[in-house]
């Protein structure tokens, strides 16, 4: 067991999660806030441990099944940071609705651990392990709100379809194993290069793997679960699903397709090109037709997945780093948008319809401003961070020769701008349906402000993250 210290963050996370689970058992109902603080504390310490690895630390552990490199530490830090912010936003929401408190946090922690394992895995089995750890936590989190029929239905759909997708992914992995004789990604890569690269078995496996990945990301035509789950799940869980797991899914793509199957890149770029184009078109068009804001954001996610895949289509370090930038910035921008929705969903009311946003500026100026910044950034307007993310992805895809894809992406961004701007117009210019003020806790306000500011500041200084993303794929 060499280099175990590399896995310190995950190991700590495991112990901490179990500790939270056990401590929660002995807490009286009035002491539930202890669980919250323990959760945040564990995440924070894990974040510090992970952040310590950013930079030079690199190596493998567990006989090569686990790896730390330039990409993993950065992505894990962001995952943890976003999880911390997400829990700040969700705290009051789940308390109000009495969604089983302790379990929610513990499942959240296990999900984060799953994402970390996905990000750091170097072996087909580890990837699958991390993925299922995350997926099972998510199924349970969606189902936690038992008194709500929509949530139960969403959980059922998510579970069945997720199982189908996992089955396909596992089937694909088994075919890759069959044709290369290894589970280790580096060995697979070597085997494919040296031997018969075009082996039909491996390519068959690749297709199944891509279906699995596309499902996890929510790319068209494997996106059907996204709107139903986003809509049916409690908003706190929607926030959780739509943010950090996207970063983890990106990491999984890199691990599987770049670290393992890069030899087959001519095959998977074509598939990604199709998935990206479909996602861009379907996501943006359907978002327009939505009156429900959670569904609208669900379709918006699908269209952003299309953008994320564009960078992968380029299949070169420039494209990968552009996609990485996109995944990170998308995650924390969406975090802000859902954070505002959670602020609105107070006192048992749910902010689900677009009308609930009307006149928000007069009810809570900070929330409205943060929402505006987030939506404009998602629409890709300079100087916000979403503009730079789109620009760098488009640059990568154009220099790789896929001009038609870039044209679709740009046209669809224009279509997309419509529904973002409509929401902004409602917040600032329409009269509120319910004109009562929407108060928020101090820590939520502070997090919202920092989150909104990050969208602005990182848009003006994109170099701070971009440099890290470029370094992750250099050499």
């Amino acid at each position: 067991m060499d280099n175990l210290h590399l896995a310190t963050p995950e190991i700590f996370m495991l112990f901490a999660s179990c500790a939270v689970l056990v401590v929660d058992l002995f807490l009286k109902p009035g002491q539930r806030h202890m669980t919250y603080w323990l959760t945040q504390g564990s995440l924070l310490i894990t974040l510090l441990l992970t952040y310590g690895q950013v930079g030079d630390t690199a190596g493998t552990a567990f006989s090569g099944a686990y790896t730390v490199d330039g990409m993993s530490a950065v992505l894990k830090s962001w995952i943890l940071l976003i999880a911390i912010g997400g829990f700040v936003y969700t705290r009051d929401y789940i308390k109000d609705r009495e969604i089983a408190n302790g379990e929610y946090y513990v499942l959240g922690l296990f999900g984060v651990m799953g994402m970390m394992i996905m990000t750091s895995s170097n072996n087909l089995l580890t990837i699958y392990l991390g993925l299922e750890l995350l997926a099972l936590s998510l199924y349970a989190m969606v189902a936690l709100y038992r008194s709500n029929a929509d949530a139960s239905e969403a959980a059922m759909k998510y579970f069945v379809l997720g199982a189908l997708a996992s089955g396909m992914l596992l089937y694909g992995m088994s075919m890759v194993y069959g044709s290369t004789g290894s589970l280790d990604l580096a060995t697979i890569s070597q085997a494919l290069t040296t031997s018969d690269a075009g082996s039909t078995g491996a390519r068959f496996g690749l297709t199944f793997i891509i279906v699995g990945l596309a499902f996890k990301l929510g790319a068209v035509p494997f996106h059907m679960w996204v709107p139903d789950v986003y809509d049916g799940a409690p908003t706190s869980v929607t926030l959780y699903i739509s943010t950090a797991p996207k970063i983890a899914a990106f990491a999984m793509i890199i691990r599987l397709l770049v670290d393992g199957l890069e030899v087959l890149s001519s095959d998977w770029t074509l598939m990604f090109a199709i998935l990206a184009a479909l996602s861009l078109v379907v996501g943006n068009l359907l978002a327009i037709a939505q009156q429900n804001i959670k569904r609208m954001l669900a379709y918006s996610t699908i269209s952003h997945v299309g953008f994320l895949l564009l960078g992968m289509v380029a299949a070169n370090p420039e494209g990968y780093s552009a996609s990485m930038f996109y995944a990170i910035t998308y995650a924390f921008t969406t975090l802000a948008a859902f954070g505002v929705l959670l602020v609105l969903s107070r006192n048992g009311e749910e902010a689900v319809m677009l009308d609930d946003l009307s006149g928000l500026f007069r009810r809570n100026a900070l929330a409205a401003t943060v929402m505006m910044v987030a939506l404009i950034s998602l629409a890709g307007v300079p100087p916000l961070v979403g503009f730079y993310a789109k620009l760098s992805v488009l640059k990568a895809v154009i220099s790789a020769g896929y001009v038609w894809l870039a044209v679709i992406a740009v046209i669809m961004s224009v279509v997309g701008a419509f529904y973002y701007l409509r929401a902004i117009k409602m917040m600032f210019f329409d009269d509120p349906v319910d004109s009562s003020e929407v108060p928020a806790r101090m820590d939520v306000n502070a997090t919202l402000a920092v989150n909104g500011l990050a969208v602005v500041v990182l848009g003006i200084f994109p170099g701070w993250i971009m440099a890290v993303c470029v370094r992750a794929f250099a050499g």
Partner: protein, 649 residues
């Protein structure tokens, strides 16, 4: 030093954010303390920069942050702090500081107090970004940012229709200039592939003789096109004919703004920019001639209009136009150092004149018509004396700062051999008489003669508070001495060596140096100077017409009604713009709207595509049926399609 230079523009920015976003919470007093503190800090740090650059000789040229690299062109934020920059920084921060303090008194009763402080601090930030830039992108940022703030401030009293009209006008006219400017920058990027000043200047040398064809057969020198485009930008910002029309109207803004933005700093951005680009402009004599002629026309014709104005601020505004014309003439004659020198002296005495006019306006409860003033000398002694100093400096009375800079420009133009130089020489010389006449016409009408105020105003007329008078005194000091003190080093010394480039074939300053060596020798030439006698004649006629025979101007006006009407209508620029451009474009717009927009675009393209997309969305929505087996089915179909794609392709 990098840190200090970064801090110089950031201090006012943070102050502006604080006063702008948290103004209500900070309250009036804290807001002005914060913004004045920010600008004072900038001024002090600029002094450190002066010490570093001028006294220790450490020019700074570094990029602070790379925004992005696209197609081999770097978009950066960077500072070039050399002797030219430092001079501008000192002028901007000093005048801005004075105006900040003065504003406490001037805006005392205004509801938009905090908003005003936030804007002027934001302006200081933008202007500093503009002058400190080391590349074209940041220059353009600063250029647009000062334009935006100017727009906001002209329309500061947004409930007045005239203010809204004026800021709309300023906005539109500046669009024309900025369009030329960005074309110029685009041409620079196209032919040199860089935005960085240093690189562009090096790469411009091989462009000599290269031509480009615009609109078919005509071949143009690339450098001439670049320089003229850039100068069109300067014409908009520095209000040169025919893009000057916005500046007189900008007087709708509060007076401190007229002093800071529309006299001392922002309008000189164009002058600064041309001086900064001297290595480019020196390569195109055509562009220089163009600049010379435009400047000369502005200097003379705009001064004439000043004679017939009744609004005290408008007289000073036309005077500003005319003085900007002088600076432009100097640029055209390649006397860049003289232009910058005049820019500096003008900043002080013109800010002084504006603030003095503002002081009069406060004392008379916001009355601006000179026909309702007169005899104010005994009520406003400090304003009186400082105005006198400002006016004398403006007309170029020997020894005061304006004398050195203006006479130098006249001398320099006299030496120039470029086409148009003769016209320019006579225009600026005649301009001296005009300047003296309108300045003292205003001075006598306001401070001397019989009082024409109504009783109520006269009773309450008194010197405004200290925050108003102190900046007047603080500006009067440099208006007197700055010319004498700095002329030697700036113009005749080595101050601008390595910063401003002048081609030997039109180095007029070198030729002036043959017979004039410095401030003292300039003073000794006074008895033989045409300009001096013209200025004195101007003062004399003003005295004669407005104090000795006050009934004469009206008689002359009725005799020469035709001339008066031309001047009164400001040569018809406004009417022309409004009937041809404004009404014309509204007409074209209406036509296009009816046929093109409503018919084709709205009908077919927008509504058509919107409806199409709406229908498509409705159809696609059907696929989201909510049934689990439909979803699973779609996934399997997707898998099959992807399989077949790679099996059969």
């Amino acid at each position: 030093m990098k840190f200090i230079y970064t801090l110089i523009p950031l201090c006012p920015l943070f102050a502006a954010i604080a006063a702008g976003l948290f103004g209500k919470r900070l309250g009036r007093v804290m807001s002005h303390r914060v913004t004045i503190g920010g600008v004072a800090m900038s001024f002090l740090l600029s002094l450190i920069a002066f010490q570093q650059v001028v006294l220790s000789g450490n020019t700074f040229n570094e990029s602070i942050y790379t925004w992005m690299v696209s197609g081999g062109i770097r978009f950066e934020v960077g500072f070039l702090v050399d002797r030219l920059t430092v001079l501008m920084m000192l002028v901007v921060t000093f005048v801005s500081l004075m105006v900040h303090i003065y504003t406490i008194g001037y805006m005392h009763d205004d509801d938009g107090y905090q908003r005003f402080f936030s804007y002027i601090s934001l302006f200081t930030f933008s202007m500093l970004m503009l002058v400190m830039s080391n590349n074209f992108m940041q220059l353009f940022f600063g250029w647009e940012a000062v334009g935006t703030v100017s727009y906001l401030l002209i329309g500061f009293w947004y409930k007045r229709d005239t203010a809204i009209f004026a800021n709309m006008k300023a906005f539109l006219v500046n669009r024309v200039g900025d369009f030329g400017f960005i074309l110029g920058i685009a041409a620079v990027v196209m032919y040199t592939g860089s935005l960085d000043y240093e690189e562009v200047f090096v790469k411009a040398q091989p462009l000599i003789g290269q031509t480009m064809s615009i609109m078919g057969g005509f071949e143009w020198s690339v450098l001439t096109v670049i320089c003229i485009c850039l100068f069109i930008g300067a014409m908009g910002k520095s209000a040169q004919m025919p893009l000057h029309v916005w500046l007189p109207d900008s007087m709708e803004g509060p007076t401190p703004i007229s002093a800071l933005i529309h006299a001392a700093t922002m309008v000189t951005a164009g002058i600064f920019m041309v001086a900064r680009m001297s290595p480019l402009f020196e390569l195109s004599e055509t562009a220089l001639s163009f600049i010379l002629v435009i400047g000369a026309l502005t200097a003379f014709l705009m001064g004439l209009i000043g004679i017939v104005q009744h609004d005290i601020k408008r007289v000073v505004a036309y005077s500003t136009l005319s003085q900007l014309g002088y600076m432009t003439v100097a640029l055209g004659a390649s006397a860049y150092s003289a232009a910058i020198f005049h820019l500096m002296t003008h900043a002080f005495f013109k800010a002084l004149l504006f603030l003095a006019a503002g002081s009069v306006i406060i004392a008379l409860h916001h009355e601006q018509d000179m026909r309702k003033m007169g005899g104010l000398r005994k009520y406003l002694p400090i304003t009186y004396w400082t105005s006198l100093i400002g006016s004398l400096a403006l007309i170029g009375f020997p020894g005061l700062s304006g004398f050195f800079s203006k006479d130098l420009i006249i001398e320099a133009v006299h030496e120039s051999t470029l086409p148009g130089a003769t016209l320019a020489y006579w225009a600026v010389l005649a301009g001296v008489f005009v300047t003296a006449f309108y300045s003292f016409r205003m001075f006598f009408l306001v401070f001397h003669g019989k009082s024409r105020m109504d009783e109520h105003t006269e009773e309450h007329c008194h010197e405004p508070p200290n925050v108003v008078t102190w900046p007047l005194i603080a500006l009067a000091v440099p208006s007197v001495i700055i010319g004498f003190m700095t002329m030697g080093p700036i113009v005749f010394g080595q101050y601008f060596e390595g910063v401003i480039f002048v081609d030997d074939s039109h180095n007029v300053i070198e030729r002036v140096r043959e017979h004039t060596t410095g401030a003292m020798s300039m003073l000794s030439h006074v008895p033989g100077s045409k300009a001096f006698y013209l200025a004195m004649a101007g003062v004399f006629f003003a005295w004669f017409f407005y104090l000795v025979k006050p009934e004469w101007p009206a008689k002359i006006q009725s005799k020469l009604g035709f001339l008066h009407r031309i001047l009164d209508k400001k040569y018809g620029f406004d009417e022309f713009n409004q009937t041809v451009f404004a009404a014309g474009s509204v007409g074209i717009g209406a036509g296009l709207w009816r046929f093109g927009d409503q018919g084709v675009i709205d009908g077919a393209v927008v509504n058509g595509s919107a409806q199409g997309i709406g229908k498509l969305a409705g159809l696609a929505r059907l696929s989201q049926s909510g049934y689990l087996f439909h979803y699973a089915f779609a996934m399997i179909i997707g898998l099959l399609v992807m399989m077949s794609i790679f099996l059969f392709i």
